[in-house]
């Protein structure tokens, strides 16, 4: 008796994704303090980088005199990176404890199982993002406008999805939580080898060249625009394209690993 024959496939898939996202929120709601590390790390980085490198805005080439405005989108994206990587660590734990087998043995398509993890990470990344944003406002960061805010938070959610695909891929490849440092370090490197610290013209040596080709630079610039000036489509679409490309690549790799589980 195939129960899935009763409902259209799209409804079943949607319900499954919803159920998996609902399960993911249990860690936040049922484990005291579970949200703290994910919020603490980007906040510390924001406050630290701002306190340490804030004088850089005195250099010619900075679009703003307020370093907190310059760096807050980076910290929000870092939060997204940490959250996505944490989703990978959770998947590794699920693999170690046999939970993933329960999902793999069900008739749910592999992409649906992955989508549940990825979308949960996207939603969860809004928490550290909002926290860092609030702290930045308190410290005097400029208000990005509603359009700027929407663009930034969209970038944050999408970056978390990219990070979750990366983390899931590593989790399925190594089947162990010991891959956690690789998940975290990979995202950290991707986000910081951009115009995170300074505009492109002020970057030095190898970092300038890497930032030029790193697609996440476009994401940083798109997320930053409201904080340092106005929002325009010309500044936004490269970031969207970059995210789409990253999602396609990392998503495909993660899906491939999920399909190969058991090979």
């Amino acid at each position: 008796m195939d129960a899935t024959a009763n409902l259209p496939a799209w409804r079943v898939n949607l319900a499954t994704i919803g159920a998996l996202m609902s399960r993911a929120k249990n860690e936040l709601l049922r484990v005291p303090g579970a949200a703290i590390p994910g919020v603490l790390a980007p906040t510390i980085f924001f406050l630290g980088l701002n306190g340490v490198f804030g004088a850089l805005t005195q250099l010619k080439g900075f679009e703003t005199g307020a370093y907190e405005s310059f760096i807050v989108p980076v910290s929000m994206l870092q939060g997204a990176g940490f959250t996505g990587a944490a989703a990978g660590v959770n998947m590794a734990r699920d693999i170690e404890q046999g939970w993933l087998d329960r999902l793999l043995v069900s008739p749910a398509p592999r992409w649906v199982l992955l989508a549940g993890t990825v979308l949960a990470a996207s939603a969860r990344a809004l928490i550290p993002g909002a926290f860092v944003f609030a702290i930045a406002l308190l410290l005097g960061a400029g208000w990005p406008g509603v359009d700027g805010l929407l663009v930034t938070f969209f970038m944050v959610a999408a970056m978390a999805a990219v990070a979750a695909c990366w983390g899931s891929m590593l989790a399925l490849r190594f089947k162990s939580q010991s891959a956690a440092p690789l998940m975290q370090a990979g995202m950290m490197a991707l986000i910081l080898t951009t115009t995170a610290y300074a505009p492109l013209a002020l970057l030095q040596g190898w970092l300038e060249e890497v930032a030029r080709v790193n697609p996440v630079t476009q994401v940083v610039e798109a997320a930053r625009q409201g904080f340092v000036g106005g929002v325009s489509w010309a500044e936004t679409w490269p970031g969207l394209l970059a995210l789409l490309g990253l999602l396609l690549v990392f998503g495909a790799l993660a899906l491939r690993e999920m399909r190969r589980t058991g090979a």
Binding site: A3, N6, L7, V12
Partner: protein
């Protein structure tokens, strides 16, 4: 018993690098049957089950479950089977009810139907009172019952149970056995792997014995035991007198491989009638017998006959999972 085939395995193989964990396994399980898959640790039971439940790709041979090929039609297989694996794969942060409902969603049951099934199943496995507690607070027995309930939410045609009672106390084990029988009475085919001889003996219509990746014997428990033949006497003796006792017993009947250093096992064609002979012979040699037991053939004897050694049965645990 219906004659259609629920599970068909032909020449199934699985290699891990240089190691062949499953070597050319052939099994036919009829619909409505309970098939016991018996073997020691590392024999290849779990590997076989993982291939049949589409969690592992075979490296040779083929298998069909509920009429679908496990490789080419994996999705259809998953829709038709229920699985309770060796490690009860449960989320400690979820409640029992949430877990069953998630399982219902994974199998495409509409919300209301999923809720109704969850309630029925929790009642059936006697977890209704604990349904809204977190799984992390359940004992080992409760977790196994929940795992079983989750495997049944979509009323599967074929149910795979991978060592469902390992680590459980005798009472919990009995509860699981009763549930398995009830399911089978409802028409579900059950593929049960176990290390426990008694479990296979009690539950299975047919038994396949696997060792080192190969099926070494297959048949009904009765026919397998009849193959082995005569009962044997199990003698518990002092360590220093074993050699002499073996010499004496050899004159009465063939010796079987011992289970430990203080035991002698001797086959006796006449059964109970041979006991006085053995006792007299040992008494005349001044050998003190600690205990004596007449043992009828068991599946372990079948295993010994086929492999030359005993299945080592693990100790059970009665402690709750989160003590």
């Amino acid at each position: 018993m219906a004659s259609a085939t629920a599970i068909s395995v032909q020449g199934l193989e699985r290699a891990f690098a240089e190691v062949l964990a499953v070597r050319g396994v052939e099994i036919e399980v009829g619909e409505g049957e309970i098939y016991g898959f018996l073997g020691p640790n590392g024999a290849g039971k779990t590997t076989t089950v993982r291939m049949l439940t589409t969690l592992l790709l075979p490296t040779g041979g083929r298998a069909t479950v509920a009429g679908h090929d496990v490789v080419a039609e994996a999705r259809q297989v998953r829709a038709s089977i229920g699985v309770a694996l060796q490690e009860a794969a449960l989320d400690p942060l979820m409640t029992g009810r949430e877990l069953i409902r998630l399982q219902a969603t994974l199998h495409g049951l509409p919300g209301a139907e999923g809720r109704r099934r969850a309630d029925d199943l929790l009642e059936r496995v006697d977890l209704a009172d604990a349904a809204d507690r977190r799984v992390g607070t359940y004992s080992g027995g409760m977790q196994r019952r929940l795992d079983l309930a989750a495997a049944l939410v979509h009323e599967p045609r074929v149910l795979f149970l991978d060592e469902p009672t390992t680590g459980l106390d005798p009472v919990s084990r009995k509860t699981i056995w009763e549930e398995v029988r009830a399911l089978n009475d409802d028409g579900t085919t059950v593929f049960l792997t176990t290390q426990y001889l008694e479990e296979a003996d009690q539950l299975a219509d047919n038994v396949g014995i696997i060792d080192s990746g190969r099926i070494v014997a297959e048949g009904t428990p009765a026919s397998l035991k009849a193959e082995v033949g005569a009962p044997h006497i199990r003698l518990q003796l002092e360590e220093g007198s074993i050699a002499e006792a073996e010499e004496i017993c050899r004159r009465i009947g063939p010796l079987l491989p011992p289970v430990d250093a203080k035991t002698v096992l001797v086959e006796v064609e006449q059964g109970a009638a041979d006991i006085p002979r053995v006792v007299r012979a040992l008494d005349e040699a001044d050998i003190e017998v600690g205990s004596l037991e007449l043992v009828h053939p068991s599946l372990d004897d079948v295993f010994v006959a086929k492999t030359g050694y005993h299945i080592k049965v693990p100790t059970t645990s009665s402690a709750p999972a989160n003590a």
